[in-house]
């Protein structure tokens, strides 16, 4: 894994370990999911992830349907699962330099 801000190509869900680790107690990358659109199973680590800015968009590796979105801002982390479920806004500790 290496710096990805200059690369327009996608990463994978391994890169979500850090951002989602802020709000998950268990490592999220091993979590399994079956895509509701194409029924393909995958771990979160295997999702195709676009970003990191303006947010991380994780998609099914089979059909590219959106699985989740993460937006990190200074005071909050937004997590939206799927398309229409509404985003959850988590508070992050504000860290001053």
């Amino acid at each position: 894994m290496n710096e990805h801000d200059e690369h327009p190509l996608h990463l994978d869900g391994n890169a979500l370990a850090g951002p989602l680790g802020e709000v998950f107690l268990v490592d999220p990358t091993t979590a399994w999911r079956r895509c509701p659109s194409c029924l393909r199973p995958s771990t979160l680590a295997e999702l195709h992830v676009y970003g990191p800015e303006p947010g991380l968009t994780a998609r099914c590796p089979g059909c590219a349907a959106v699985a989740l979105r993460v937006v990190t801002q200074p005071g909050h982390l937004w997590l939206q699962l799927g398309g229409g479920a509404g985003a959850f806004r988590f508070s992050r500790p504000r860290i001053m330099p």
Partner: protein, 235 residues
């Protein structure tokens, strides 16, 4: 919830023209498994922060943490880490991160590692862990790399290849050293012949997106089970 720890740069090694390994001292580092990564956070004087992921290049070793950094042209973070962060200065890290792209020496069975370019970094942690373990299960590293100038850990990999159970093969994609038997070019199915039998082998693939997808397809075609192949893309 995880926290951020201060990490002091204690050493930097030039691997290639743009590749560096950086060694940090991280007080109270909890340890990690080969394949895991950390997120590194930089803070500018005005409070602006940037976070990027970097793979851990060595097995757990107390408070010593080694990262691989490939400087991306025009990059915001990687050129700074590669060449500008002074030895003795600090960044912040959080981790270890990732529980999927990991391997532990206790796992039985042969290991097949496919690296594209600087994708060698997390796989190097696995090679080093295998060398340090008493197991004599075979471990094969195929390293797809442009030319001899682009090889990370050249001397260490040469030494590793002398071990009875470790095999290292460079696949030159643009320029090969004199006398190389394999024609220059990207990974093909022929490169996967005479490797450990697919049945009980675990495969780890890391590199740029195109390499990872190509290598994954070849492994599946060669009979490796999808459930035994783990991949990590870096762009």
């Amino acid at each position: 919830m995880r926290g951020w720890r201060r990490a002091r740069l204690t050493g930097r090694t030039k691997q290639t023209a743009t590749g560096r390994t950086l060694v940090f001292e991280v007080p109270r580092w909890p340890g990690h498994r080969p394949g895991q990564h950390v997120d590194v956070r930089l803070t500018a004087a005005d409070g602006y922060q940037a976070v990027r992921s970097y793979s851990l290049a060595a097995p757990a070793d107390g408070e010593r943490v080694e990262l691989g950094v490939q400087a991306a042209p025009g990059g915001e973070v990687s050129p700074y880490l590669a060449d500008d962060l002074p030895v003795g200065a600090e960044v912040e890290v959080t981790g270890p991160l990732g529980g999927w792209f990991v391997w532990t020496p206790q796992e039985a069975g042969p290991l097949l590692l496919l690296a594209g370019g600087s994708g060698i970094v997390p796989l190097m942690a696995m090679v080093r862990a295998r060398l340090a373990s008493p197991s004599d299960e075979p471990c094969t590293l195929l390293h797809s790399v442009r030319s001899p100038d682009d090889v990370w850990y050249a001397a260490e990999l040469d030494a590793a290849a002398a071990a009875r159970h470790v095999r290292v093969r460079h696949l030159w994609t643009r320029a090969a050293p004199e006398g190389a038997a394999r024609p220059v070019g990207r990974l093909t199915g022929a490169d996967l012949r005479d490797l450990p039998p697919p049945a009980d082998c675990r495969c780890f693939v890391c590199g740029p997106t195109g390499f990872v997808e190509h290598a994954g397809d070849l492994l599946l075609a060669a009979g490796y089970a999808p459930g035994r192949i783990r991949t990590e893309r870096f762009g």
